[in-house]
Amino acid sequence: MASLDRVKVLVLGDSGVGKSSLVHLLCQNQVLGNPSWTVGCSVDVRVHDYKEGTPDEKTYYTELWDVGGSVGSASSVKSTRAVFYNSVNGIILVHDLTNKKSSQNLYRWSLEALNKDSSPTGVIVSNGDYDREQFAESTVPLLLIGTKFDQIPENKRNDVLTRNTFLSEDFNAEEINLVGWVISERGIRMHNYSLTGFTDRKRFNFKNLHYD
């Protein structure tokens, strides 16, 4: 067991977007019955077969570090949170599709995690304008996840998806919209909405998800 390599992935996002539920779902294959506030950081582990079925198959432990709190926390909380950001292999940014602020705050979260946040109070000097230069030299892969899609009324869904496309382009990240979950034998399959006018979205089977 010790011979398996470790992969550390941070799960970041505002309070109440669904990070703990997501992590629980990914690792325990069950829906989290009673979500409560995460104090500090909660870790969960998923055993993952990288490149399954090929001769290169390797089993990894994916550690999902779910860091609690909000972007506007006191600087003492931020400095303490920073200890969790060491040697990170990937970052999952979670935002709530029903709450625009949580999407806007993702910029600040990613900056904080990549240690580029220079001012302790978290006030971005560029006034919220996204600066691609900040991410140019970073090699950490990002994954954006939008939750609670089913809580958006039908007529607003198109707008939300458009906004998301821009958001994920800004981050140069992959994008998944979590809607319905089917827990099958071999893992978790996920349904995607295919809407006209959008480019063909990939169907992700989680067993095949790997980090490049």
């Binding site: 506030w37 104090v39 870790v43 303490t80």
Partner: protein
């Protein structure tokens, strides 16, 4: 004509205050949340505007601006509207939003909100029984009845807040109470935290691997039901091992939370130490000493008031002028100066109390709100703010010279003002002592 002009002035100032309340809401309170229900924002800004108008009317009273009939009219109007908002509108919306958050009652939200509102009215009315408020001359729904109850709640809040401020102030401002925290302390704690996290991770890896092996072997741990299931689960070694490891993980997670909170605490203390070395920090430290002395004096006065059963008859301004005239022999125009000094004094009290309350409310809001409960909390804060300001008007009466008290007395009728001062002192003292005992026991 002058009445019309005065009304225009009042109205524009009210709109201005409404705008300030709106800005405060958007910039400070709700800066991390998305406003989905504009009702909340409107109600908050309206409450804020009404409270500020009240203070503005007091200032006008002292300055003698606007004609006295229009002042009186606006006082009455403002008071009625504020009472309407504080007693009818805000509690109803609080009930409505609380009910909306509960899944079960979603269907008949309005009905349940009305039920909640009636319960609130019942307790609000019952509140008046133990206090010397009811006088048979006035009817049920008169302004005196409502104001008196609002006054009781508001004065309690004021006393609690002042008590809290009086206790908190020396601890936050003065660096005497700061523990000495070095960088190595923080590093040691952080290392422990990371070690705990690593232990949690390794145990979870074992659990995950064991589960996976069991799954691959065809067993399903979670579906063991019935008699044979229990026998099976007892005899199979991995599962009991699993639950043992799970318990250890739970304990470690609790430990990690504690360590995290301790580290946050230490970091905050370290930052305060650094801040206290700056110029601003030293200034606040100095202020802290002053405030401590002031708080001690206030406690002393409160005790004396209660023990000797006396309520101050004259206000500080007249008293100060008396002292300067009689003992120091300085002669100056009493009327002229008393007006200006009381204006400045009352102005300072108003501004600091508004600012202090808003800052406290903001801190409180950040600490306890979440995306679900933010609406309810903002409305509760609006209610507190309204009641606080109404009763601060009641208490401010004592700080004003006699000739300016008339309008407050006229409008608010025959309230037992002395009672409120006594009540304030009692609550302040009790709360202050409790808080001090708690704080001291936690520091040492």
């Amino acid at each position: 004509m002058s009445f019309f002009l005065d009304s225009v002035i009042m109205f524009t100032s009210q709109v201005l205050f409404f705008g300030c309340g709106w800005l405060f809401f958007v910039r400070q309170l709700f800066k991390d949340y998305e406003v989905r229900q504009y009702v909340v924002q409107v109600v908050f800004s309206v409450t804020f505007a009404l409270c500020c108008t009240m203070f503005e009317l007091i200032i006008f009273e002292i300055l003698g601006a606007l004609s006295s009939t229009s002042r009186y009219f606006h006082w009455k109007l403002n008071l009625y509207v504020i009472l309407l908002v504080l007693i009818f509108v805000v509690p109803f919306y609080i009930g409505y939003f609380v009910v909306s958050n509960i899944r079960l009652l979603q269907r008949q939200r309005l009905l349940f909100a009305c039920v909640v509102w009636f319960t609130f009215m019942y307790f609000f009315w019952k509140l008046g029984d133990p206090f010397p408020i009811l006088s048979p001359k006035h009817g049920i729904l008169s302004i005196e009845q409502l104001i008196s109850r609002v006054g009781v709640i508001g004065v309690t809040l004021m006393a609690l807040l002042s008590g809290f401020g009086a206790v908190n102030c020396p601890y936050t401002y003065m660096s005497y109470f700061l523990r000495n925290v070095t960088d190595s302390d923080i590093l040691a704690l952080e290392r422990r935290l990371l070690q705990t996290m690593d232990m949690i991770v390794s145990k979870k890896k074992r659990i995950a691997m064991t589960r996976r092996q069991m799954y691959q072997r065809g067993e399903d741990q979670n579906k063991q039901t019935g008699f044979w299931g229990m026998i099976k689960s007892v005899t199979s070694a991995p599962s009991s091992n699993l639950s043992l490891i799970q318990q250890e993980v739970d304990a470690l997670e609790e430990l990690s939370r504690q360590l995290f909170l301790e580290t946050v605490d230490l970091q905050a203390t370290k930052e305060r130490i650094e801040y206290s070395k700056t110029f601003q920090g030293k200034y606040f430290n100095f202020l802290g000493y002053f405030f401590s002395i002031y708080c001690v004096w206030k406690i002393f006065m409160a005790t004396i008031n209660i023990v000797f059963d006396r309520v101050g008859k004259t206000d500080p301004v007249t008293r100060g002028i008396e002292i300067t005239v009689n003992y120091l022999g300085i002669q100056f125009d009493v009327k002229f100066w008393s007006q200006h000094i009381s204006f400045i004094l009352v102005g300072i009290i108003i501004v600091t109390s508004i600012r202090g309350l808003l800052i406290t409310l903001t801190k409180f809001f950040y600490a306890i709100s979440s995306s679900k409960s933010s609406n309810v909390i903002v409305l509760v804060l609006a209610q507190i703010m309204g009641m606080y300001f109404v009763s601060s008007v009641l208490l401010m009466r004592m700080s004003m010279p006699l000739e300016y008290r008339t309008i407050v007395t006229e409008v608010l009728g025959e309230l037992q003002f002395n009672f409120y001062h006594r009540w304030f002192d009692v609550i302040f003292l009790h709360f202050h002592n409790t808080m001090h005992c708690l704080s001291l026991s936690s520091t040492f």
